[in-house]
């Protein structure tokens, strides 16, 4: 698997050995992530895996306890103006000023970004069908996501960070608008980092995927390579094993009787060899989806 590194392209984001503890709990543990310029990186993981914590470090809202965080080669804590002026961010919690009107929030945000594109903002306002005179507190969750997205995009940031952007958006908007925007941003040579629970979305849009599990990076590489480095196979045993078989290289094993389903990390040949060693044969195999990989990695709960 080819892991992005500073040498693979100019890294817009370079996180090296980042650790963060909240009391006794390790939220991030020795995390290393690089995001090349012009790429789309999908950040996936269970709830509480550390996705938002990692994003907050990139925005300088959390200070690294160990390791280093560099965005555009700068420390976002030491130089928030230099970093944040080039970043667009959509928060997971949609932390918006509920008392403002839509147009007031746009005016307020515009003041901080000299590169604000008024025409583009107006275009997005129309596309999202938002009423400028409406108070933010009266907007639905999806509409709040849209105004958050609009204000994070309108200054055409070099790095767009979207924390759970799909949350609250209906499937049409999610597929036709959000994905189109992410693609367009990437095609313009800008960089996107987005976290999502919807792995089919990540699979369609992201060039790279980073999977976090309990604060650790368990997968990091190009999306297609991550998928093709895994095999979802069905193993058949002549004698049904009494307990789940132990297969070297398997991330998850599930089933009963003589047929067991396995998520294997390795090549076809390695799978055949490992299966033969435990007295089984491969009767079916295919490339797993990211969703299947995440579920299996998250605790071996594959069906």
């Amino acid at each position: 698997m080819k892991t992005p590194s500073p040498s693979s392209a100019e890294a817009v984001v370079a996180v090296t050995g980042l650790s963060r503890h909240f009391g006794a709990k390790a939220a991030l543990n020795d995390v290393t992530v690089y995001i090349p310029r012009g790429s789309v990186l999908g950040l996936v993981g269970e709830n509480g895996a550390g996705k938002t914590t990692l994003i907050k470090h990139l925005l300088g809202m959390l200070k690294a306890q160990a390791g280093s965080v560099r965005v555009f080669g700068r420390d976002p804590v030491a130089d928030p103006v230099g970093v944040l002026g080039r970043v667009g961010y959509l928060s997971e919690r949609r932390d918006l000023p509920a008392w403002m009107r839509v147009d007031e929030f746009m005016r307020y945000t515009q003041a901080f970004y000299p590169a604000w594109d008024e025409q583009y903002a107006g275009q997005l306002l129309e596309q999202f069908q938002l009423d400028p005179a409406q108070k933010i507190k009266t907007l639905s969750q999806g509409q709040q996501a849209k105004i958050g997205l609009l204000t994070s995009l309108a200054h055409r940031p070099e790095l767009l960070i979207l924390d759970e952007p799909s949350s609250g958006l209906d499937p049409v908007v999610r597929r036709d608008i959000l994905e189109a925007i992410i693609r367009m941003v990437a095609e313009e040579g800008r960089t996107v980092l987005f976290s999502s629970h919807l792995l089919d979305e990540v699979e369609r849009v992201a060039d790279y995927v980073v999977m976090l599990q309990r604060g650790r990076v368990v997968l990091n590489g190009r999306t297609d390579e991550v998928r093709h480095d895994h095999i979802l196979a069905v193993l058949a045993f002549a004698e049904p094993p009494e307990t789940a078989p132990v297969l070297a290289g398997a991330h998850a094993v599930a089933g009963y009787g003589s047929e067991w389903r396995v998520l294997f990390g390795g090549s076809h040949l390695e799978l055949e060899t490992a299966a033969t060693l435990i007295g089984a044969r491969v009767v079916e195999e295919r490339t797993p989806t990211l969703d299947e990989i995440l579920v299996a990695r998250a605790g071996g709960k594959g069906s």
Partner: protein, 539 residues
Amino acid sequence: MLWEIWGRHKLSFLGQGIALAASVFLVHWKDNGASQSLGDVLGFVAFVCFIGANCHLLVCFGYVEIDAGRVQFGFPGRLLFKPVSTGRLALVPMLFGGATTVTLFAAWAELVLRHLVSFSASDLLWIISVLLSFFWWMQTLAWSLPSFKCKVFLVLIVAVIHFVVWCIPRMPRSVSPGWQWPILTVLLGFTVPASWIGLKLMRQGTWEGPSRISTLWRHLSRPAARTRRKKFGSPFGAQFWLEMHRQGWLLPGICGGMTFLIFPLILKCFQWAGADTFPPEVMPGMLVLPLMLSVLLTPALARFDSFHSANELPVYIAVRPVTNGGFVMAKLAMALTTSALTWLVTVASACFWLALMEKGALFSKAGLVTPYGTVSYTTGCVPALLLLVIWTWKNLVAGIGAGLTGRPWIAGVSVYLRIVFLSGLVMLFDTARSNVIFREALLHWLPAILAACLTVKLAFSIAAFAWGLRRNAITSCAVGWIFGGWLVCGLFLAGCAGHVCNAINKPHLWIWIALAGFLVLPLADLAIAPLALAWNRHR
């Protein structure tokens, strides 16, 4: 519900217990062995604790929650879905909250207030009943009108009504022929059905979505909103606009409302009491009000969004490309504007009522007290007004650093240290008043002490500024503004002091007052504010 109240406020209840114990100690000290002047101070401190503790009780047992998403406060929405009748939902917090509040008030009154003012059992019963009515009205207003914008002013009107009702037994018999209990019964009786109906409407979703008024306003303002899209000139302009919208109108609104609503009533009460002229004691009361309220509003000023439940910086502000010093500067500018507005509305309101009710008697009297005439008198008021604006601003921003850390315990410790420091000062001056040797020694060393304190303050501030500059928390331009502002205000105070000292023929006092002025004006607080905010923003 009681368990929830306990869980949420247990630390503040502990604080309340400590305040009660301390107040009991203070009033016993006052009664046993303290000098007259020290006794007055101790009594005042105990009285302030009594007022603060009872306001705190009203907040704790009011059963009102803030909904940041809807920018409103009212009955906790999550309880509306519980399988409990609306009557029980309304009555339980009203009865338990009311009973607890008045019981604790009675305990405070017996243990502390009785040592400060004399009152009979019937007086206590009357004030407890008025308090209960006020408490229930607060709950009714908060629960029944969750999204009503002018609720604060309704609360103010209700407070004024209860103040007048509380005064009824003290009014001349011709004005209040024994109406107090029927009036209070009506007030109390109204609250229970009103709360019940309010909660029922809330449960039915009547208050959901925009109100008819806001829909109409939105419809009317839409064309204006399209044309009014004037850009902010700078990030500072945008942040200042946000600060003014969130906090800026609070102090002028409250002071304007109070001087406009309460002082005419007080004047009327004096007229009822038979006073034929304007009582001079009322004027200092009017002047003290903004100064006192500005102290109380300091914690609110440090917050970026009063409806934001967390103490952290709201994300929509934290991610803006602005230095921490930039955010602080917007706050300082807002505090200055709000101070100026506060005095504008207070003076305007006071002048209006005085002119209306006193028929200009005070103004003509004012013109006579100075040999220079009314114009010179009015011109002379300008520096005095500027001094009051600076004092209010100083009150608002003092301790801003502690508030900006976003850690409530630091803000609490800061308030505690300030109280200890001020109490120490009061005791020092009290000792100086009674002990001649100590006073002479103090006067001898005072310039040196003031100069040393000023040196320490300057050294600390310079170190904090340097640290802030090194960490990019503040720009050199912001440092220039803060330091320049401090210097200008200090020189202005020194100029005023010089003028007054010459006028009273005591020019030797000038240097002390000038040094004290520079000491009192906040600089170190403002120097650490960007660093405190950095600690909050980059956790």
